[in-house]
Amino acid sequence: MVQQIKPGQFVQLEYNGRLLEGLVMPRSLYEDEKHITLKLKNGYNIGLDSGKVRLVKVVEYETPAQPIEEKSYNEIGNGPRVLIMGTGGTIASKVDYRTGAVKPAFSAKEIVDMVPEIGNIASISIKTIMNELSENMKPENWSVMSNEVYKAFNSGYRGIVIAHGTDTMHYSASAVSFAIENPPGPVVFVGSQRSSDRPSSDSAINLQGAVTFAAKSNSSGVFVAMHAGLDDNLVAVHRGTRVRKNHTSRRDAFESVNDSPFAYIDIEKGTVKQENETTPQGKIKLMPNFLAKASIFKFHPGISESLANAVFGGDLLSIIIEGTGLGHVSREVFPHIRSAITEGKFVGMTSQCIWGSVGMTVYETGRDLMAMGVVPLGDMLSETALVKSMWALGNGLDLGSVMPLNLRGEIATRRPVEK
């Protein structure tokens, strides 16, 4: 009689001689089919072996509510015009306590209802441009984001906020940094480390920070706004080419590497604290193409020759090495690098230390690698170097000359003593 029990039914069941009443819940993909989930009247869910329960009667049947995909681009709120773009994930969402499902906000009204503070900072519009989990983002998605940002600036938005899953947010931020030259205002990526279906989510504070920066800062560039620490007040704004996710779960996982955060937002006061200014050096220019013929080669002791051969001898056009220390690999890798460079491929050096610059003139290994034609990439993050080379390849630029140049703040000539 098991097949009679269906999600959405409010049922009476007999189980081990006991009478139970509750709503049959849908099972998640990760749960087996041998059990049923019953939501009891006291709100708790329990799992029961469907072979051991007997359906006494179906009390009522609820037709599952249809998901509402209301898309509204109407502006809501007061202040400078800010466009929030959705790329997947959930900027703000609410929980359906009956089913436990998380419903993302789709319209400007819904999002301003959930985080009403942003309506006092800016006039908000919202646009969902794609629906991808962060780990599934591809260079094609970066192109879509860049095109959308370009369009949005041309239609008069002062600042743009892009809500993004956090896993690869720093790659996307880097990509849009290169694809848009001279943005007239800030483009701010934002995400959350604690999902927005919980009262303690960081999403509302981060979103307020991002919207504040997009509405108030005069800086031109692409940024990432996330918690500065464990407190729910200070949001750090990082340069898109300088930022890295350095923790799996903390709210302050995103850090500026080899650089201080570009700005801080005090949420309670609504103020932007920013020491430097970046102003557009000309008209906005769009170079939105990426060619995914580049990769990162992380060297390690005992590296496999066949891996080195596959990376340097395959069809990649640009290889970013994450070398040890100041920028080294072992002698076994030399022949593979040499032949790749001879074939005209670009080989650049970054450091797996994450912090600090490569310095390839200090040791013989470094000098040998430079003599082979390996290009030292200073203190550029390996992820940024990867994205930059995909961008350079996609737009027909000469990697040898473009990669070592500082185009979007990705390379610095000095690193302050204080981290």
């Binding site: 006991r18 303690s200 007040n233």
Partner: protein, 618 residues
């Protein structure tokens, strides 16, 4: 009266429910951080207006995290780990113990908690067993659910700018055992709760110590609202709380009868809030001027309430006090009500004007608060609701038990909690093998008492008190460690001294107990000194050693004792004390000098010996 119990008891697992922290460790340093919880009004469920107001204010919460007792999980900076398997096992054992039906899959839920006591904004909780029973003498008490849940953070301070919680308790595994309601008197109620508590303790699966068992008691009279009393930590409180509530609730039934007799109807409560600031400014009462300061005085008519605010059906239970507690939710220090307005020294003319402005007639009362802004009107609206409820007898509300066994208003009873699945934790399969094998062999209470009495050579009555007490583990450890001290002495310290200290709000401490027993066992001080030294040490947070040094309590030898007794005896010769009184007089004078420095029994022997000698030689 009808009663039901919700017993929360702490499992003695080595680790917390969702992380690797050991709650028993001592922190060496702490960090703190501030957070805000966001719950949109549609997600709050049926929470009371005061809590809703708190959230709307966006008050921030401060958390203190110690380096040993909490980690990123409690800080809500890391997802919960898989639930502690020991805790799961214990929950199944207890479900079997109460013959409950055990679920085939455990689903952890998020129960929304808005007071900030959980960093996540929810408490994780799961049903493991349900529909069980507890057999008590000839009664069968239904056990509706057995839940495994995490404890909340520990409130350190109700700061002006928001509460401060320590995360050391957050995530500690608790079992929540909920009984079906039963019709019983207070004495039976206490026996039921004690019976369940004793059964649980005998399993050895639970931690002991103050705060490791907490009972919420649900009480109602007739068919009136159910009152939930929280924070009952000691068994002895239960009976008092039940007796208190029965009388208090019956008085509220009486209040509704009186109001009906006075022909008060619901519509009579709709009077406007009245501003009395100008009238009261004119008063010469200094108390009133101080309360008023630069604020407004706002009053609400309470139709038919004259004489009902101040009446105390049981000590510490007044409707006026309940209303004051309600206003405290909005940050007010208290209220002024009509039954005590005469205490404030307000001039009769002003009182008459107030009465007129409030449109008071015979039997009418009022309440008055001093403040400004939204909170004042919100507070009075909630007070109005409470007054109106009085027409219908005791309302459903949540109250807090006091140490003395009274209860104080805490908040209106919340509606059904908002719950949704905890998606960070996978569901846990409970196999038939687990259900069959996770059981515990239980000895009877009587045989457990016998065992302790025999093992430590103490009277049965003392053994039973020890089994009931929070300090059984300290006692057994101390009795084994300090074999030279009679077990009865150690038992009396943990049962009597600690209890007296607790009544005075002084918390017992294992380190101090072991320090002092160590000194007694070495003969450095006498056992008679234990209560005073412990009190001084614990109340002033200084070490036992320092107290002894300060008091000059180092012990004296039997030789020195002999000399002291001899000299006192000699001094007393001139007084011609009667023979039959001499022992008492000398003993008293000697003890005054040597108390705590030498065993009282030795003093007794020495005094008797010397007196006998004295009279023989005379």
């Amino acid at each position: 009266m009808k009663m039901g119990f919700e017993i929360h008891i702490q499992l003695n697992t080595q680790q917390k429910l969702f992380c690797g922290c050991n709650p028993g460790e001592i922190d060496t340093k702490t960090v703190s951080f501030g957070r805000k919880l966001r719950v949109s009004s549609s997600e709050m469920g049926e929470i009371d207006p005061a809590a809703a107001f708190e959230i709307k204010k966006g008050r921030s919460i401060t958390y203190v995290s110690g380096d040993r007792t909490s980690c990123l999980v409690e800080a809500d900076e890391e997802p919960p780990h898989n639930p502690n398997s020991e805790a799961i096992k214990s929950a199944i054992i207890i479900s079997n113990l109460f013959s409950a039906g055990i679920v085939d899959e455990i689903h952890f839920m998020r129960k929304i908690v808005v007071d900030g006591s959980n960093t996540s904004g929810f408490q994780r909780t799961a049903i493991v067993g349900m529909d069980g029973r507890f057999v008590y003498v000839e009664n069968v008490i239904g056990i509706s659910t057995i839940c495994l849940e995490e404890d909340a953070g520990r409130l350190v301070e109700k700061g002006e700018n928001g509460p401060v919680y320590n995360l050391d308790r957050l995530g500690v595994p608790l079992l929540e055992i909920t009984t079906e309601p039963v019709e019983a008197d207070a004495a039976t109620g206490e026996k039921i709760a004690a019976g369940i508590g004793r059964t649980l303790k005998l399993t050895g699966l639970f931690a002991r110590g103050l705060g490791t068992i907490r009972q919420d008691v649900n009480v109602s009279v007739g068919n009136y609202g159910v009152v939930e009393v929280k924070g009952v930590q000691k068994l002895e409180q239960i009976r008092k709380v039940l007796e208190f509530e029965e009388k208090r609730q019956n008085w509220l039934v009486e209040v509704s009868r009186i109001l009906n007799e006075r022909k008060i109807r619901e519509a009579d409560f709709d009077a406007e809030i009245v501003n009395l600031t100008d009238l009261l400014r004119a008063s010469n009462s200094q108390t009133i001027q101080r309360l008023l300061s630069d604020q407004n005085a706002l009053a609400l008519k309470a139709p038919g309430f004259s004489g009902l605010f101040a009446k105390e059906p049981v000590p510490d239970s007044r409707l006026g006090l309940d209303l004051a507690d309600l206003c405290k939710l909005f940050g007010f220090k208290g209220i002024v009500h009509s039954d005590e307005i005469s205490k404030y020294g307000i001039e009769n003319q002003i009182l008459n004007d107030m009465s007129r402005r409030l449109d008071l007639h015979e039997n009418d009362g009022f309440i008055l608060i001093f403040g400004d802004g939204e909170r004042t009107s919100r507070c009075l609206e909630m007070a109005r609701l409470r007054l109106k409820q009085s027409l219908n007898g005791p309302p459903s509300e949540t109250r807090m038990a006091t140490d003395k066994g009274a209860t104080r208003f805490l908040r209106p009873r919340p509606g059904a909690s908002r719950m949704y699945p905890e998606t960070d934790i996978i569901t846990i399969l409970v196999s038939d093998e687990m259900k069959a094998s996770y059981r515990v062999e239980m000895k009877s209470w009587e045989s457990a008492v016998d065992d302790i009495a025999d093992k430590y050579n103490i009277p049965h009555q003392v053994a039973e008190q020890l089994l009931d007490s929070d300090y059984l583990e300290w006692f057994t450890e101390a009795a084994v460690t300090f074999k030279s001290i009679p077990s009865t002495v150690i038992a009396s310290v943990v049962l009597q001294t600690f209890e007296e200290l607790r009544k005075d709000g002084i918390q017992a401490n294992k380190v101090a107990l072991f320090d002092i027993l160590n000194l007694v066992s070495k003969g450095s001080i006498a056992k008679e000194a234990i209560p005073d030294v412990l009190r001084e040490s614990l109340s002033q947070a200084i070490s036992v050693e320092s107290v002894i040094k300060r008091r000059g309590l180092s012990s004296i030898s039997q030789e020195e004792l002999k000399k002291i007794v001899a000299s006192i005896l000699k001094d007393s010769r001139r007084e011609n004390v009667q023979k039959e009184k001499i022992y008492g007089v000398i003993m008293g004078r000697v003890m005054k000098q040597v108390r705590g420095k030498i065993d009282g029994m030795l003093v007794d022997q020495e005094v008797k010996r010397q007196i006998e000698e004295e009279f023989r030689s005379n």
